[in-house]
């Protein structure tokens, strides 16, 4: 990988959430990545940020840019996902009422990430955290 960016996202950080996705998008524009790929990475990146803000105890997003692919790695410090199959089901969410009123918690975050990435992998352990790796062909 020839280029790497790391963004920290804190729990409950709704006011600045979106910042990492915007910076990722600008970076990819400057690197001349196609609009189609930028849209996919932007959507996946934004959903990642929101998930970290809503569900995690904090985490980070790493963008790695290679010649043939882009990679987003999302790592958090917990609490972990009890049932990944359920979490990946469109419409299923554990978000509370407060964030639902803000339009989050539709249960579309992980499915949106998977749908936009060319390669998607998720692993999680209760008490330890969740890791998601998404790859996008350039």
């Amino acid at each position: 990988m020839s280029y790497e960016l790391v963004f920290e996202v804190a729990r409950g950080d709704f006011d600045t959430a979106g910042e990492a996705s915007r910076k990722i998008k600008r970076t990819l524009q400057q690197l001349g990545v196609s609009n189609k790929v930028i849209r996919k990475v932007s959507i996946a990146g934004y959903e990642s940020e929101m998930n970290l803000a809503i569900h995690s105890d904090g985490g980070k997003i790493t963008l790695e840019v290679g010649e043939e692919e882009l990679m987003l790695t999302i790592e958090d410090i917990g609490p972990g996902i009890a049932n990944i199959d359920l979490a990946m089901t469109a419409g299923w969410s554990t978000a509370g009422d407060e964030v639902r009123q803000m339009g989050f918690g539709a249960g579309m975050g992980l499915p949106n990430m998977k749908n936009n990435a060319d390669n998607f992998a998720i692993s999680s352990k209760i008490g330890e955290g969740t890791k998601i790796i998404m790859k996008f062909l350039v």
Partner: protein, 110 residues
């Protein structure tokens, strides 16, 4: 249709006209669930939503929307407006409901 054409209709008011109102509206989209909007709304659209918090600007910016329309007189938060100015996204308010907004956009050929 440009944003400025929409603003010729007195039902609509732009809260931050300094960002420029000559953007072209290619399509319309209505939705309040942000992930759903992220997945389905298109570039260059006018997005009608009752959500008014700052994250709508993140969505509008990432999808390269032309403007955001807040219906039914909902009040827009100051932080949202500040971010909209930074990101050049026109925020338009109206007393009309989302259906009535869409009717006007549809009648204008969108």
């Amino acid at each position: 249709m440009k944003v400025s054409d929409l603003l010729n209709n007195k039902e609509f008011k732009c809260l931050n006209p300094q960002v420029g109102i000559e953007g072209v509206i290619d399509s319309g989209y209505v939705g309040d669930l942000l992930s759903w909007v992220m997945a389905n709304a298109g570039k260059g659209c006018a997005w009608v939503t009752i959500q008014t918090h700052v994250n709508i600007i993140a969505v509008a910016t990432l999808l390269e929307m032309t403007c955001v329309i807040i219906p039914e007189g909902a009040e827009v938060e100051e932080s949202t407006l500040e971010r909209a100015i930074i990101e050049d996204i026109p925020i338009i308010i109206t007393g009309l409901n989302a259906y009535e907004v869409c009717k006007i956009l549809g009648n204008a050929g969108i």
